[in-house]
Symmetry: C2
Subunit: 202 residues, 2 copies
Amino acid sequence: MKIPSKHIENAVDQIASLPGIGRKTALRLVLQLLSRSESEIHDFSTAFTQMKKHVLFCSNCGNISDSPICSICSNENRDHSTVCIVEDIRDVLAIEGTQSFKGVYHVLGGVISPMDGIGPSDLNINLLLSRIESGNISEIIFALSPTMEGDTTNFYIYKKLKSYDSLEFSTLSRGVAIGSELQYADDVTLSRSIVNRQPFIL
Amino acid sequence: MKIPSKHIENAVDQIASLPGIGRKTALRLVLQLLSRSESEIHDFSTAFTQMKKHVLFCSNCGNISDSPICSICSNENRDHSTVCIVEDIRDVLAIEGTQSFKGVYHVLGGVISPMDGIGPSDLNINLLLSRIESGNISEIIFALSPTMEGDTTNFYIYKKLKSYDSLEFSTLSRGVAIGSELQYADDVTLSRSIVNRQPFIL
């Protein structure tokens, strides 16, 4: 696909550099952008430079924020003794969306993945240790994805923390998803959900 | 999904304004952008403003171009007497990709679609008429999509042009796609392809 304009070509390259977007899709998006007014394009472009310039990471938990301490960490109505460890900012948004958790978070910024060259030192683990050192934390919830990398990271952090006698550890419950059909559940999930069966409550 | 930073929120809104991209995907893309360096973000942003500023539409055929006349219209080795009418710049790229067409194009910039409020006056049709008035054109190829809107547009243009005795009209051949299985072809296509069957050539 040879595009007869190097400016369009450049814009397509930039959009196609985003994960999961191919050049055909990128061209469709770029042509849609091209049909917008100059001020709309200006708004589109400055959104990203402004974001890079102004977005901060909470110095307590690693969440994104417009201030040095994020709105969750600075909220006095939340339970600061329960810390939920997540991989990514999107996991914070997903759990916040449920409105079922009143504790605080710690965002690792990834999981240990030797295949991708991500080791423990690339993650936000030291900040977690210093939060725990400062006391006041009584429960750690491991909420990483149930993958090999997530489990490795859980184990690594657990090893670092298990010497703290005051800490309780928990993890998200695993089992058959609500609303899903049993026959389509995978073997490991189904097996875990029958072994770790829960009391029946009407 | 309440994002705890208005700068990220704004960037997500901008990406989600692109057709076919929802807010969850937009957030994933924005967080990937956020992980880039400041100069990379700068390159990303300026690609679109530069494109809007510098891209021209060929004053002859409506194709995108970096110069007032596009590289296809200014190419003397092409057959300027055969004009292929297409809806969109992407159709030009698709046909050019086949390397099977040596004529020139006319890009309408859409098709007549009353449902979307697009009438003949919104399309690049007057420019086509003036190209034909100037003589030298002997064949018009209708290469619009085989949809109701495409057929309506074909018919509208044909009515405008049929009084020119010197013009021949053709359309892309319709039929079963090469490499596809017969049983999955839709009824209309299959019926057309058997009625308009072609001589068998080994």
